[in-house]
């Protein structure tokens, strides 16, 4: 996957545009981007310490379990009408805002 290929070269400083881009990506209105720039920049800059950890050759590891420990394929309905406890609309639909495009 190309997204995992390391991007070499000098990384630019965190800018207001970056904050705007990422806040859009994460779907949060950030009204004052400038307010976030310093703190986020400080945090991101701190992460640069990872460059000197010398871990390039390490492998990523994860907890493992056997397929035989997984849930059996059985239908068990939830014991109550969950939708009644959640936001609902027009009977039992969930309503979303209109979609663009």
């Amino acid at each position: 996957m190309e997204i995992w290929i390391e991007h070499l070269g000098v990384r630019k400083m965190v800018t207001e545009e970056d904050i705007e881009h990422v806040s859009k990506l994460m779907k949060i209105n950030v009204t004052n981007h400038a307010e976030y720039v310093d703190k986020v920049r400080a945090m991101i800059n701190y992460f640069d310490i990872l460059d000197s950890a010398g871990v390039e050759s390490e492998e990523v590891s994860m907890q493992e379990i056997s397929i035989s420990e997984l849930r059996e394929d059985k239908y068990i309905p939830f014991d109550e009408k969950l939708i009644e406890k959640l936001n609902h609309y027009k009977g039992t639909y969930v309503r979303a805002p209109k979609m663009s495009s």
């Binding site: 965190v14 779907k27 976030y36 986020v40 701190y46 000197s52 406890k85 979609m99 663009s100």
Partner: protein, 481 residues
């Protein structure tokens, strides 16, 4: 009635008929009413607690089978779901969220006749280490209300420390149980990853966090683990502890055990009072027959950066579900387009959560994934290897729980990186999945200091034995409420 008793003492006294659960719970509610206005440990208090305790007393009187908790009042961090109760994560985003199901730990405690006395305050979505980032106002340290109680499970630690419950459940993502336990002079436990089910714990950074008990004594941790630990079909990451009894043999001592002193957690940055308390504890451990020796864990200095990279990434994803469509607060979709609605609805997140989500959008995003996130995962792997290596030589490791003393409310809130570094001694246990405990050790200028012990994965029982042994050497003043 004495509220200052341990869980084991409570059970004994109810069993002996010396006290009733109802009286004790009623008295606990009174205590909450008298101190919580000042301390703000609770976000909500269970109005039916006394009634529930009365029913348990009835069961006891009529000779019915009664669960191991005998109506003990327990407080629960407000990021664990109790069916039909509000579960807010101290966030405006979930201000009105009523959980429609019980977390596994709640189910287990209900089966053992525990009373949930209330839901405790925390940093919003557990992001913080001072409880100052609660959307509903900070909790205060019972030892000195000008000071933070630590966090993110600050409310839980305060409630145990100020006798507003007997024990509490917190959650520990990077020290969130141990840090406030240290700051409030109570015991805080972060188990081996997978020992306690996370089903019903609202995720912050799911790959490293665990629910952990906050108690007055080490034995009480063992008592709680006996109830809540073990494999859970609802959580694929839980491990089978084969019904381990953590209380039996807890007084086995540490004679002949080898203990490594983590030098990377005792550097110049550590407060001198904390350093000297730790050295004192080490000599106590030696006095108990253990041999202590320094050990260096190289990756510790990268651990905080790795920790924040991983947690921000996972948080960014875990918190994506809060789009206000299926549950949340009152805000109509009428007239909005999807993206603008979601972005507007999510303005309810507090500034710290927003910051971490922005970081969580940065570090795993297409351009940066290799640079930050993958490296963080590799640091995590290497750190784990280093600890595994250390545990070949040592049975246990020791370090201060927190490198600093409790600080004043507002003192560090605007300096994210200096807040980061307070986590340096606790995040290692989370990144490696190893169990760790904070034991109240001393008081310096009226502020508590905790000592942290680590053991290898699945050595929770050994860890509790060592903690118990150290605890027996400590005599601390009572909290000046």
């Amino acid at each position: 009635m004495n509220l200052k008793i341990s869980a084991l003492e409570f059970v004994q006294q109810v069993q002996d008929g010396n006290i009733s659960a109802e009286d004790f719970v009623a008295k606990t509610i009174e205590q909450i009413q008298s101190v919580d206005e000042k301390l703000h440990a609770f976000l909500s208090v269970n109005e039916n607690a006394v009634e529930q305790a009365r029913l348990i007393d009835k069961k006891i009187k009529s000779g019915d089978k009664v669960g191991a908790c005998f109506g003990m009042p327990i407080s629960i961090k407000d990021n664990m779901c109790i069916k039909n109760d509000k579960t807010t994560c101290a966030s405006k985003m979930l201000e009105n969220f009523i959980a429609p199901y019980d977390a596994t730990v709640i189910t287990k405690l209900k089966q053992q006749d525990a009373i949930f006395i209330g839901k405790t305050n925390m940093d919003e979505f557990a992001m913080g280490l001072s409880t100052e980032f609660s959307a509903f106002g900070p909790s205060r340290n019972p030892w000195n209300p000008e000071y933070v109680p630590g966090g993110s499970s600050g409310g839980s630690a305060v409630s145990v420390s100020a006798f507003e419950c007997v024990t509490s459940l917190g959650s520990d993502t990077g020290g969130s149980v141990r840090n406030p336990a240290s700051f409030c002079s109570v015991v805080g436990y972060k188990p081996t990853y997978g020992l306690i089910s996370r089903y019903g714990l609202i995720s912050y950074a799911n790959s490293i966090e665990q629910i952990g008990p906050i108690t007055r004594t080490v034995k009480d941790v063992a008592f709680m683990l006996n109830i809540i630990a073990g494999i859970d079909p609802n959580d694929n990451t839980t491990i089978d502890n084969k019904g381990e009894d953590y209380l039996s043999g807890i007084d086995s001592g540490i004679e002949g055990k080898k203990i490594g002193i983590i030098t990377d957690m005792m550097t110049d940055g550590v407060d001198p009072a904390v350093l000297s308390a730790t050295k004192d504890a080490i000599s106590k451990l030696e006095g108990l027959g253990a041999t202590c020796e320094e050990v260096s864990i190289d990756m510790v200095k990268y651990s905080v950066a790795a920790y924040y990279t991983i947690t921000a990434t996972e948080a960014g994803s875990n918190l994506a579900r809060y789009d206000n469509l299926r549950y949340g607060y009152d805000f109509s979709v009428e007239g909005y387009e999807f993206n603008s609605y979601i972005s507007k609805a999510r303005e309810k997140f507090g500034p710290e959560v927003t910051r971490r989500m922005i970081i969580g959008g940065f570090v795993p995003s297409a351009g940066h994934a290799g640079k930050y996130f993958l490296k963080a995962l590799k640091v995590k792997s290497k750190l784990t290897k280093e600890l595994d290596e250390a545990f070949k030589k040592f049975d246990l490791l020791v370090a201060p729980t927190v490198p600093v003393l409790p600080f004043k409310i507002g003192e560090k809130i605007n300096d994210p990186v200096s807040l980061f570094l307070i986590d340096i001694n606790t995040v290692t246990a989370n990144l490696t999945g190893k169990p760790a405990i904070s034991i109240p050790y001393s008081i310096s200028n009226g502020l508590p200091i905790g000592i942290q012990l680590f053991a290898n994965s699945n050595q929770d029982k050994l860890l509790l034995q060592a903690a118990y042994a150290l605890e027996q050497t400590v005599k601390l003043p009572e909290v000046p409420l």
